[in-house]
Subunit: 270 residues, 2 copies
Amino acid sequence: MGEKLHPFDDAVALSTVPGAPTTGRTTDAYANMVGPYGGITAATMLRAVLDHPELLGDPISLTVNFAAAIAYGEFTVEARPTRTNRSTQHWLIEISQDGAVTTVATAVTAVRRETWSAGELAMPQVPAFDALERTVFPEFIAWAQNYDLRFAEGDLTMTDPQPSEDSTSTLWLKDIPARPIDYPALASMSDAFYPRVFLRLGQMVPAGTVSLTVYFHATTAELAQVGAGPVLGTAQAARFSAGYYDQTARLFSAEGTLLATSNQVVYFKA
Amino acid sequence: MGEKLHPFDDAVALSTVPGAPTTGRTTDAYANMVGPYGGITAATMLRAVLDHPELLGDPISLTVNFAAAIAYGEFTVEARPTRTNRSTQHWLIEISQDGAVTTVATAVTAVRRETWSAGELAMPQVPAFDALERTVFPEFIAWAQNYDLRFAEGDLTMTDPQPSEDSTSTLWLKDIPARPIDYPALASMSDAFYPRVFLRLGQMVPAGTVSLTVYFHATTAELAQVGAGPVLGTAQAARFSAGYYDQTARLFSAEGTLLATSNQVVYFKA
């Protein structure tokens, strides 16, 4: 072929050999502190569904349970439809390494139909993408180098961090290099908000996503309209309690269309 | 024994015979329009985890994918730990009937530790439980008869329904008869908000939950403090689009402690 894949497509690429399990592998570009970035794992599991020959429709929901860190290198991905109805399909996806499960996901796909529609949640009013400075994350957070992140609020000040009473971050997100938004990209961006506990405490503490759920509101036509973005994201925690907290995140098109909502529960130590 | 079980405990009760699959059965008390009430199915799947001899810790998250309606009668419930770590445990739970999967769930349980804690989301200011009238749902919605539901906003007016620009309902919930709150009760109450699309359109239309996720914030000590409630619930949709919408719900103790947050994606026809 000769054409170089986008780093995102390279990271979620799966290899299928007839009669053998489907495999993927981690890439340096989307490494996190311990194992790969959770967003890329979520996108990879969704990729396995989208690549499946029996796929029906488009993604409606995805839940990824991070049972153990994925070791750098190769892994097996098994996606299978657990139930196929007339217009909806239910999926179970597992990643394993050396025979042990590291990640378990479920997904729902469906053939969408035109219905009455309404966006109830308004997009936060923030300066335009071009009016904001890019926040460059420290080099050791490899995955973040693939995103042009421009904070309107809740940036993590690396130089003089302060505790905050509000865990909200609102920021523009855009792939580097530019890449048209698709469902795996939305899954990955849903996890691109640094841990809310850092913002509240004004310091980095051990934290890791335990379970991530993404609801896809955008139709394929809407995604085509968004093109390569940018996308506006906003995330906030509701409660920090006894080692765990939640995060609600929303991703909007620049025109204010709610593309995806996501929630995650995060382990932390502080 | 002779002591009569609470209808909720009766509905989620499982039967285990060594060497045979665990079974449950639907009860008339928690019937919905087609099949059992989704909240009782979620609670039953959590019950299967909590009853499991290898259980580690308390529930952190639960995601239930409703793949097909459960027929009234007996069903098989299989819960198995997919990965057990030092302080967290990951679960896969399946309900099947006649060998076909109807419902697939994942859960995370964990041993909680004391940490820095903070509730960021404030409880809505509403009149007290005793200051509001109970809304009695039509008799054909059997499951709702098990809840004393008192709306502060977003009641479904049965007599003269009107479309609304806001899909928010905020209400007190309490088991009938009174029953101390536990994790299965929170799972069930997370689904006790009638479909948001009814409120927006001012009419009942076909609607059904496709996937439900619950995050449990409350510790067992906090649940003991809540006792038999009531609990304050608030729910809202963010977007209705091409046959599906989401619902975010929060459950607070009367003292304002956030006990659980939940999200669901719902199929609708309108």
